[in-house]
């Protein structure tokens, strides 16, 4: 199965995930700046090119750090917590 073989090869190249994603996001920003009409934007900040990129990036980082912070506050316990 060609797709499966492709996937296996992709798996071997998984270390290159970040550079590939950076290139794709760069292309998306160029596409938005040149071709996208912001008439559908609901708020002024949405009309700034790259607004949703920054929003997605910061949201992801915030959620990870916030959940880790909650875990450090005492929410995370050992697996057999309820057995004791």
């Amino acid at each position: 199965m060609a797709v499966v073989n492709l996937l296996k090869n992709l798996g071997k190249w998984q270390g290159n995930g970040l550079p590939v994603t950076m290139i794709v996001t760069g292309l998306l920003l160029i596409f938005e700046t040149l071709f996208v009409d912001h008439g559908q934007a609901h708020t002024a900040p949405e009309k700034i090119p790259g607004f949703w990129s920054l929003f997605g990036f910061l949201s992801g980082i915030f959620i990870v750090f916030f959940s880790k912070w909650l875990g450090h506050l005492g929410l995370l316990k050992h697996e057999d917590y309820y057995d004791h």
Partner: protein
């Protein structure tokens, strides 16, 4: 509308379940597929109107109220019944199939119910049948999770029934299940809403879900992921559309689910928290209350059944094949289970609202409805949670299971392989449906209850979504070291009844047996505690219980009961009437105090 007789789809499933033990071998497999297909055919042929009216006391029960809304939900439930049964086709245990079909029958019954009594009947059928899908895993953890599941749903049932009675009194005997006056909900309305929200897994009434879905059988959790919460969403749409409280609650659910999902080490518990998050979008849409928002909630519930079950199928396949579901025991399986990875990835892209996949055409409806109504903070928070959904459901789940460093034992690696053909067939069909809805969305839009103007495939929406998701991937790679899995458990609201329950048992033990020493045994399981309580009854505690029951209820226990050892009450199931009533009254009094507080 015209009232005429009809065959209730639930009847087919109930009869099919009861007859299942008569079939064996290949005939049984065919039978397992035919019954859901007949059910689906019946649902497809349902015609608008009121059907199945049965005289009851001075009124009537209405079993079949068919309209656009109920037809949409009944269709996806019947379809999911077929896909779930196909996924579980290899399961030899009849109890699991029977429980699943009773459970789906309950869900269809709720969706088609025309009045609150019928709704309550099927609502409880769902709770009491689905617990067997947890117990069927037959592990101590599953047994405990099942009891807690039952406890919480029993509590939800009490809330619902009390609400129905109060609502019926307030409306002068009206049991009809219709839109409430959300501007003036009485005590009955609020209690009914609480019962619905418990099944929708709205915090703080949600902890039963990750607890039970994480411990269910691989195929049982697939079925459970689709029905309870989405049936509750249907009930909320039917009864509470436009209730302002639901908007902040929905937004909170969306964020709560993604934050808690990040803390999970178990793949199925992670997905269960994401159900809370996804249901949050629907609850928020119901709270916004505009035609676009309500239709968005319906559409999102429809596709959520598909992609969430697909994700549970993917993780269930890993569990079925390797015996593991914790990230700390998995990793690097892409070469061993490549096809399962593809199906799970499709589920992940669907839930993350990636273009061409199911979630893209529905999630945007709710978010757009929030922006259209100038609810900017709600709109941005819903978008923020989308990043968390993509991070944990797609990136974290798939990376920690199939890529990265392998944390698998030798045995896990040897067992890992793509699952049996029936499981794979169910995943292929569900994955194709996710893509079909994402590409041919007018098929779904044309079946939604309200007219609206929304076009998902605009350049702006595509650019917005792609940028949002790809930059989330960049963020994921940067925080990847923080996501390394560790064997851990995140405390949740179930802490109160799990820890509180053990203290309550210890308190009972101390009061009834008078054994102070018992308090020092912190490791005694509940069964042992109860046994010890009965082994060492003190005369004082027995007399105190009987006296208390007499003083509060007026029921004098018989001489035989007074002389009897309490162990025989349990053995012969012959508790003194007064004592039983005393316990019930005490419980209700406590509940009333809690309610009025």
């Amino acid at each position: 509308m015209i009232i005429k007789p009809f065959i209730h789809p639930s009847l087919v499933l109930l009869a099919g379940a009861l007859l299942l033990p008569l079939f064996r071998g290949r005939l049984r497999q065919g039978y397992l597929l035919v019954v859901p297909l007949i059910t689906l055919a019946l649902v497809v042929t349902l015609r608008d109107g009121l059907h199945g009216s049965v005289p009851f006391l001075e009124g009537e029960l209405l079993f079949g109220r068919i309209d656009t809304l109920s037809r949409l939900f009944a269709f996806i439930m019947a379809l999911m019944c077929g896909l779930g049964t196909l996924f579980a086709l290899h399961v030899k245990n009849d109890v699991e199939h029977i429980a699943a079909w009773f459970y789906v029958a309950g869900s269809l019954g709720v969706i088609l119910a025309g009045d609150y009594l019928v709704l309550f009947l099927f609502w409880e059928l769902m709770a009491f049948s689905s617990v067997f899908l947890v117990w069927a895993r037959n592990t101590p953890a599953a047994l405990g999770a099942g009891f807690r599941y039952l406890l919480m749903h029993g509590f939800g049932g009490i809330l619902l029934l009390t609400g129905i009675v109060l609502h019926q009194q307030a409306t002068g005997g009206d049991f009809s299940f219709t839109q409430m006056d959300v501007g003036a909900l009485g005590a009955g309305g609020w209690l009914i809403l609480s019962g619905f929200l418990l099944n929708a897994a709205a915090p703080p009434l949600h902890a039963w879900m990750p607890d039970a879905y994480g411990e269910g059988t691989p195929s049982g959790s697939v079925i459970m992921s689709a029905f309870t919460t989405k049936t509750a969403v249907y009930a909320l749409i039917r009864g509470f559309s436009g209730l302002p409280l639901l908007l902040p609650l929905g937004v909170f659910m969306v964020l709560f689910g993604v934050v808690y999902a990040m803390l999970q080490n178990d793949a199925r518990r992670l997905l269960a928290y994401h159900i809370i998050s996804q249901v949050g979008y629907m609850v928020a849409g119901i709270g916004i209350g505009t035609p676009l928002a309500i239709s968005g909630a319906c559409a999102h519930a429809f596709v959520n059944v598909l992609y969430k079950s697909l994700l549970f199928m993917g993780t269930g396949s890993v569990l079925f094949m390797t015996g593991k579901s914790k990230f700390s025991d998995l990793g690097g399986l892409y070469a061993k289970m490549p096809r399962t990875l593809i199906y799970t990835l499709i589920g992940g892209l669907s839930i993350s609202a990636f273009p061409l996949f199911a979630g893209f055409v529905t999630k945007g409806m709710v978010v757009s409805a929030a922006f259209d109504k100038h609810l900017l903070s709600a709109g941005f928070l819903l978008m923020m949670a989308s990043a968390g959904t993509f991070l944990s459901t797609t990136l974290k789940l798939i990376y920690l299971t199939w890529f990265g460093e392998s944390r698998c034992s030798q045995e896990t690696l040897e067992r890992a392989a793509d699952p049996p053909r029936n499981m794979e067939a169910a995943m292929i069909l569900t994955a194709l449906l996710c893509i079909f809805v994402g590409c041919f969305y007018p098929v779904l839009y044309g079946r939604l209850p309200y007219p609206f103007d929304y076009h998902p495939y605009t350049a702006y929406h595509l650019s917005e979504t792609c940028q949002f998701l790809f930059f989330t991937v960049v963020g994921f790679f940067l925080v990847l070291p923080m996501l390394s899995p560790k064997p851990s458990l995140a405390l949740d609201c179930d802490w109160f009844y799990r820890i509180g329950g053990s203290y309550f048992l210890r308190f009972l033990e101390y009061c009834c047996s008078g054994r102070k020493g018992a308090r020092h045994n912190h490791h005694a399981p509940p069964e042992e505690t109860v046994t010890r309580l009965l082994d060492y009854p003190s005369d004082f505690s027995r007399k105190a219980m009987l006296l208390a029951s007499f003083l509060t209820t007026g029921f004098m226990p018989s001489l035989a009961h007074v002389r009897e050892d309490p162990r025989s009450w349990l053995r012969n199931a012959s508790f003194p009437v007064g004592l039983s009533v005393f316990m019930a009254v005490t419980f209700l009094a406590l509940m009333s105090i809690l309610f009025f507080l």
